[in-house]
C-alpha cells in the first residue's frame, strides 16, 4: 500500500487555488523530491498530509487513513520554519520529543548530537542558525516513522550543513519508510532522490523515477527542472 496517496486533492485559499486536482502516490522505501518554484503548492501539500490544513476537495491518505491522531503517530514532520521551543536546551528538547513520540529513538538522537558536538546544556536560542536547523532535523530523523515530510530542509544553511543534512537522511534510510523532501534547490538533493515530482501552480507536471528521467533525457534533474520552469 502507498504510504502517501492523494486523489483529486484541491485546496483553495479564498479564490486562489493552491492545489488543483493533485493525484500522487508515494511507495514505501522511496526518497521523493517534491520540486517546484516558490508558491507552487509544495508546503500546502505537506501541510495537508500533516492534517494542518483540510482539503477543499478530494482526499489525501497516509498509510490508508485520513490525517489525524493515528497518522501523526507515523509521520515525522520538519516544518519550513523552525518551531522548536528555543528556551529549552538541546538535551531538554530530546526529552520533550521522547515524551511526545512513542517512536523516538533517543539514543540515536544523542549519538547524532554528540557527533556534531552540540552543547546539550546550552539554550537552543544561543545556538547558531545552522546548528538549530541541524538539531531540528536530528529530532525529526530520530523518530522511527513511516513517513518523513521535510519542508525545505536545506533552505537556509551553508553547503557543508547541506551535506550533513543529506547524509543524515541517507544514513537514517529505512526500506519500509518514505521520505518526501520539498525544495527548489534541485542540484543539491538530486543525488539522493529515487523519484521526483514536479509541481507548478498547484498541478503535478511531471512524476517519474529520477534515474529514468536522466536516462531518457540525458540531462540532470536540475537541468530538466530549469527547462520545465523556464520563466
Amino acid at each position: 500500500m502507498a504510504i502517501l496517496e492523494s486523489k483529486g486533492l484541491s485546496k483553495s485559499f479564498g479564490s486562489k487555488k493552491a492545489l488543483d486536482g493533485v493525484d500522487l502516490k508515494v511507495e514505501p522505501g522511496r526518497i521523493v523530491g517534491l520540486l517546484g518554484p516558490n508558491g507552487s503548492g509544495k508546503t500546502t501539500l505537506i501541510k495537508l498530509a500533516n492534517g494542518l490544513l483540510v482539503p477543499s476537495a478530494g482526499q489525501i491518505l497516509v498509510n490508508g487513513l485520513a490525517p489525524g491522531v493515528e497518522t501523526k503517530k507515523i509521520v515525522s514532520f520538519l516544518p519550513e520554519r523552525s518551531c522548536v521551543p528555543d528556551w529549552m536546551s538541546a538535551g531538554q528538547l530530546a526529552g520533550f520529543y521522547a515524551d511526545f513520540y512513542g517512536d523516538f529513538d533517543r539514543q540515536a538522537a544523542e549519538n547524532m548530537m554528540a557527533r556534531l558536538e552540540i552543547d546539550t546544556k546550552a539554550k537552543i536560542r544561543h545556538l547558531s542558525k545552522g546548528t538549530r536547523e541541524k538539531l531540528q532535523l536530528i529530532m525529526v530523523m530520530s523518530r522511527r516513522a513511516k513517513l518523513y515530510l521535510l519542508d525545505e530542509p536545506i533552505g537556509g544553511v551553508d553547503p557543508a550543513a547541506r551535506d550533513y543534512i543529506l547524509d543524515t537522511i541517507i544514513s537514517n534510510y529505512n526500506p519500509t519508510a518514505s521520505v518526501v523532501i520539498s525544495t527548489h534547490l534541485i542540484s543539491d538533493v538530486e543525488k539522493v532522490l529515487d523519484d521526483v515530482i514536479f509541481i507548478n501552480n498547484g498541478h503535478i507536471v511531471l512524476s517519474a523515477p529520477a534515474d529514468e528521467l536522466r536516462e531518457q533525457q540525458g540531462k540532470s534533474v536540475d537541468q530538466i527542472f530549469r527547462e520545465v520552469f523556464k520563466c
Partner: protein, 127 residues
Amino acid sequence: MEWRFDGSAPIYTQIVDAVKLAIASGELAPGERLPGVREMALEAGVNPNTMQRALAELERQGLVFAQRTSGRFVTESDRTVARARREMAEETVQKFMEAMTRLGIDKEGIIKLLVAEKEEKNGDSGK
C-alpha cells in the same frame, strides 16, 4: 574512490562505471570485500536504493559477487578483470576517436600526434 556525478547519465550507471574502473585499475583488489550498501551510499552521497541497483548491475556483469552472510566481494577472476579493463579502454578510444573526427583529424594525423606525444614524454624523462 572518488565520487563525482554529472547530468549526462543515470547515477547508478555512473556508480557502475566508477567501481568498474576501480576494479580494472586494481584500486579494488581481486577478492577484496566491499563495504555495505549503506556505507557505500553514504560515502558516495547517494540514495541506498541507487547504490543497491548499481551493485546488482555489477553482480550481473560478474564484477562483484555476493556471499550470503559475509557481504560483497570483488571478483577473483583475472579474466573478468582483464575483460573490464579492455572494455573500458575500448570505450575511451572510441570517445577519443569521436573527438578527433570532430576536430577533422584523420587516422594518420592521430598516429602522428601520438608518436609526437610519446617522443615528447621520452624527451622529458631523459632530462
